[in-house]
Symmetry: C2
Subunit: 137 residues, 2 copies
C-alpha cells in the first residue's frame, strides 16, 4: 500500500472571490499563495491549502502549461472544519465576535472537544473544533 | 492572533454513501471513524478527516445531544487533493489503474511536483499530488 500523507487541498466555491478571500484572510490571517480572477489559494499550515474558486469559473478544463486541470464546480452550503487548540477556544470566540460574525451553534462532543459553527459570506458552514472530537483528533 | 492548527474536516456530498465509502476505503484503506445513514467519517491521517455526506441528508440541523450541527448541503463536482510522496507516484498510478479508475489528466508543476487527476463515483475531481506544487507543499 503506497503512502497517503494527508489532504492537501480543500475547496470552496464562492460568488465573489474578493469577499471570500477577505473573510478568510481577516479571520485566519492566511497567506495568499496564488490568486487570479478564477481562484485564490490560501496557506492554512504546512501542507494544507484552502482553495476558493469563483462559482462557475472552473467548469472548463484549465491548461496550466504543464497539463490540464479537469473541470469541477459546485453549488450549495459546504461544510469545512478547522482545528484549534482547546486553550484558545475563548480567544477564537472573541475574535469571531469582534469581526461581527454570528456564532450559529456550539457543540460539546463526548470525547471532550468543543465546536463552534458560523457562516462565511457564501453561507458555507465553518466549524472551529478543539481536540476530542474524533478518535484521530 | 490565536492559533489555527489546520483543516480538520473536508466534506464531499454523494448520491450513495455505500458506493462513495467503498471507493475511498478501497483506494486509500482509510479507517471508518463513524458511519450512519446520513454520513461517513474516514480518518485520512492524524487530525484530518474526510466526511462523506449523503446528498440532501444534512439540510436540517442535526441534534447531537451536545448541541446542534447546523444545516449544510451541496451539489456538483467538488475538487479535493491528497498529498503523496514523490517516490510513490508510480505505485499510486499502478494502484489507481488496478482499481479500474481512469486517470483523466496529469499536470507537472513549475516547482517540480506532479499531480494526477481522476473521478470518484460522484464525479468529484480527486487529485493526488507530490510535493513541489505550492510554496507550503
Amino acid at each position: 500500500m503506497p503512502t497517503l500523507t494527508g489532504i492537501l487541498e480543500t475547496s470552496l466555491y464562492v460568488e465573489r472571490l474578493d469577499r471570500a478571500k477577505g473573510f478568510y484572510r481577516d479571520l485566519f490571517e492566511l497567506e495568499i499563495l496564488v490568486e487570479d480572477e478564477r481562484m485564490c489559494a490560501l496557506a492554512v499550515c504546512e501542507g494544507q491549502v484552502l482553495l476558493l474558486f469563483k462559482s462557475g469559473a472552473s467548469r472548463d478544463g484549465i491548461d496550466t502549461g504543464g497539463g490540464v486541470i479537469p473541470p469541477h464546480d459546485a453549488t450549495g452550503d459546504l461544510h469545512i472544519a478547522f482545528a484549534i487548540p482547546a486553550a484558545e477556544l475563548s480567544r477564537w470566540e472573541d475574535r469571531v465576535g469582534r469581526l461581527g460574525i454570528e456564532i450559529e451553534s456550539r457543540v460539546g462532543w463526548p470525547r471532550g472537544g468543543t465546536s463552534i459553527y458560523f457562516r462565511d459570506p457564501d453561507r458555507h458552514l465553518v466549524e472551529l473544533a478543539t481536540p476530542g472530537l474524533w478518535s484521530n483528533y
